[in-house]
Subunit: 345 residues, 2 copies
C-alpha cells in the first residue's frame, strides 16, 4: 500500500529521457529501476525531453515526435505509475524555455565551452566546428528543467555530474542576484550500479550501436541477442577454463540474476573449466525473458489505447506546467524583472 | 482620417526598444518618427524588449523593470497610437522564448561568433572572454521576435543589417527543414536619415554618454543642452568665419528645421562670418522646445494614469501573445515536432 498523494515533505526528483528511440535494458538498469523506487518515496517528475532531443536531432524532428509516445509506453511498461510520478512532455512547458533564456544571461560562453560533458559529446557527435548553438546551451536548458521543478535530487550517470555542477552554479548566481534563496541546489544521485554494457561488450548499450535489448523486444529478439552475446573468445570448448571478467553473460548475470550464490558458483566452475557458454546463456535468457515479458505485455496493452497514453501525458504536462510556471513567477519576482502580475493598476 | 482596423493586406513591421533608459531625440529621429508613419500604413508591432535587455543588464533587472513603463510612456508621448500599433512586453510572450530555443538548433556557435554586430557590441561592452551566453545568442532571440510576428519589414540602423541577415538565414533553414515556406524573410528598412549625433558631437546620442536630450526633457534641460552644444571651437567672435560641417547646431537644424531655404542662408552667412552661435542656438532651441513640448505634456498626462498604461500594455501583449503562439504552432506543425494539438486521441 502506497500513499498516492505526494506529501509536501517529500524531496523532489527530476529525471527524463530524450525521445530518440526505444528505451532498452541499459535504461532500465541505469535509471528506470531507480525511478520505480523513487516514485514511492519522492515527488518524481519525469520529462520526455523532446525539446532537448532537438539539440542534436534538428534534421529529424519526425523521429523525435514519434518517440514521445514510444518512450511514454516504455515508462508505463516498466511500471512507472502516472498516479505516483508526473510524466510531462518538455515542449509543453513554456516556462522552461523562458527560464533557459533568463539563465543564459548568467553563464558565459567560455564556461559552457569548458563543460567536460559537452566537450566529450561534441567529439562523440563529430560536430567539429559546426556545433549547433542549442547544443552548446543545452546544459543551461537542463538547469532550467531541474530548477523549474525545484528538484533536490537528480539521478544522472557519473559522466553527467558536471551538468549538475553547472546547474548549481546558475542557482547560486540567481540566488545571489536575487538576494534570496529562491532556487534550491540539486544533488546528483549517481547509481551504485554503473552503466550496463552492450551485448557486444562495448561500454555503452545504444540503439545506434545495434548492441541493445529494447524493453519491447520480442522473445525471439531476446534469444538472439543473448545467443550473440560477447563471452570469452578463447573459451572454445566447455571443458576449457574460461574468463569471467569482460564476459557479458556474467556481467549480465551479475545484474539480472538474484541468486548471487549460484552465480558465484557458476563463475568458479567457468574459471575452472567444464561449464559451457550455452548453458549460461540459457540461464541468462530465462532471466531476461522473465523480466521483459510482463513489460512487453503491459506495453502492448497500453499501445492499443494511445488515447489513454496521450491523455495521461497531457494531464502530467498540465500539472508540470503549473509547477514550472510558478517557479518562473517566483524567480522573476525575486530578481525584480517586469511582470504584469506585480503591477498594481 | 485613418482606418484603425489593420487590413490583412498590410505588410507587418516589427520594431522595439530595450527598456534601459528614457528614449531621447536620437530615438525619435532614428526610429520613432518612422513608426508614426508606419502605423498608418502597416500592421505595426512594437516590442518593449525587456527579455533582450537582460542580455547585458542581468546585474540590474530593476533598471529594466522600471523602464518598461518609461518606454511605454515615451511611445504614447510621441504619438504612437495603441489603436494603430500593438505595443507588447517581450517577457509576456513565451512563444518567443520557445522559438528562440528551437532556432538555436539551426545556428552554429561559429556563425554567431562571426556576426559583425555582435563582435562590435562585445567590444563596446568590454565583455572580453566573459561574454554572457545570452548575449551571444541574442541575434537568435531577435530572429524569434521578427519571425514570431511574421514581420516583412524591420526598421534597423545600418549597423544592424547583419542581424536581419542572420534572421533570414534561420528562416531559410527552417523552411528548408519543413519543406514549406512557413516563415517569411524580412527586409531591413534602413532610415535615409543617419544616426543623430550627441550634443557633444560624438557619433552616438546615449544616456550613458550624457550627451542626449530625452523626449521627456524639461524646458530648462533643453535650453541647457542646446547652450552646451558643440559648434565650431575656432568661431570665437560672431564676425569670424565659421565651419558648418561637424557643427552640431547646424547638424540639428538640418534635422529639426523645416525651413530648408532659411537654414541654407544661415549656413552661408555663418561660413562668411557675421553670424553668432547664440542666435543659431536660439533658433534651434525654439524648434526643439516646440517639438518636445506636446510630447512632454502628453507624457505627463499618461504618467498620471499608470493603470491605463499598464492595461494598454496588457492588451497589446495579449494580442501579441496570440499572434506569436499561432506562429509557434505553425512552425512546429511544419517541422513535425510533437504537439498535443496534433494528436488524435
Amino acid at each position: 500500500m502506497h500513499d498516492t498523494t505526494p506529501s509536501t515533505s517529500r524531496l523532489t526528483v527530476l529525471t527524463g529521457d530524450r525521445p530518440t528511440g526505444p528505451l532498452h535494458l541499459g535504461h532500465y538498469v541505469g535509471s528506470l529501476k531507480t525511478r520505480l523506487k523513487l516514485q514511492e518515496t519522492h515527488a518524481q517528475y519525469i520529462l520526455v525531453a523532446d525539446t532537448q532531443a532537438m539539440t542534436d536531432n534538428a534534421h529529424d524532428p519526425d523521429k523525435v515526435r514519434r518517440n514521445v509516445l514510444e518512450v511514454a509506453l516504455d515508462y508505463l511498461a516498466v511500471g512507472i505509475d502516472p498516479h505516483k510520478s508526473t510524466i510531462a512532455v518538455q515542449s509543453g512547458l513554456p516556462a522552461l524555455a523562458e527560464l533557459t533564456l533568463l539563465y543564459l544571461n548568467f553563464v558565459t560562453v567560455a564556461r559552457l565551452e569548458r563543460n567536460p560533458t559537452i566537450k566529450e559529446e561534441i567529439q562523440a557527435r563529430g560536430f567539429g566546428r559546426d556545433i549547433p548553438a542549442g547544443f552548446l546551451c543545452y546544459p543551461v536548458a537542463q538547469a532550467a528543467d531541474i530548477t523549474g521543478f525545484k528538484a533536490n535530487v537528480v539521478p544522472v550517470g557519473e559522466d553527467q555530474a558536471p551538468l549538475i555542477e553547472q546547474t548549481n552554479e546558475i542557482v547560486r548566481r540567481i540566488n545571489r542576484q536575487a538576494g534570496v534563496d529562491v532556487l534550491p541546489e540539486a544533488e546528483a544521485l549517481i547509481p551504485s550500479m554503473g552503466r550496463l554494457p552492450g551485448v557486444d561488450g562495448k561500454a555503452k548499450m545504444s540503439k545506434s550501436q545495434n548492441n541493445s535489448i529494447p524493453l519491447s523486444a520480442a522473445p525471439d529478439a531476446i534469444r538472439e541477442a543473448v545467443r550473440s552475446m560477447y563471452t570469452d573468445p578463447y573459451h572454445l570448448r566447455a571443458s576449457d577454463p574460461g574468463t569471467v571478467e569482460g564476459n557479458m553473460v556474467f556481467t549480465y548475470l551479475d545484474v539480472f540474476d538474484d541468486d548471487r550464490a549460484e552465480v558465484e558458483r557458476l563463475k568458479a566452475s567457468y574459471r575452472a573449466g567444464g561449464l559451457g557458454d550455452m548453458m549460461l546463456k540459457h540461464r541468462l535468457e530465462d532471466k531476461l525473458q522473465a523480466l521483459i515479458a510482463p513489460m512487453r505485455e503491459r506495453r502492448e496493452r497500453f499501445a492499443q489505447d494511445p488515447g489513454y497514453v496521450f491523455s495521461m501525458l497531457r494531464d502530467g504536462t498540465d500539472r508540470a506546467k503549473a509547477v514550472t510556471q510558478h517557479t518562473l513567477d517566483e524567480v522573476r519576482t525575486a530578481l525584480g524583472t517586469f511582470s504584469f502580475a506585480s503591477v498594481r493598476s
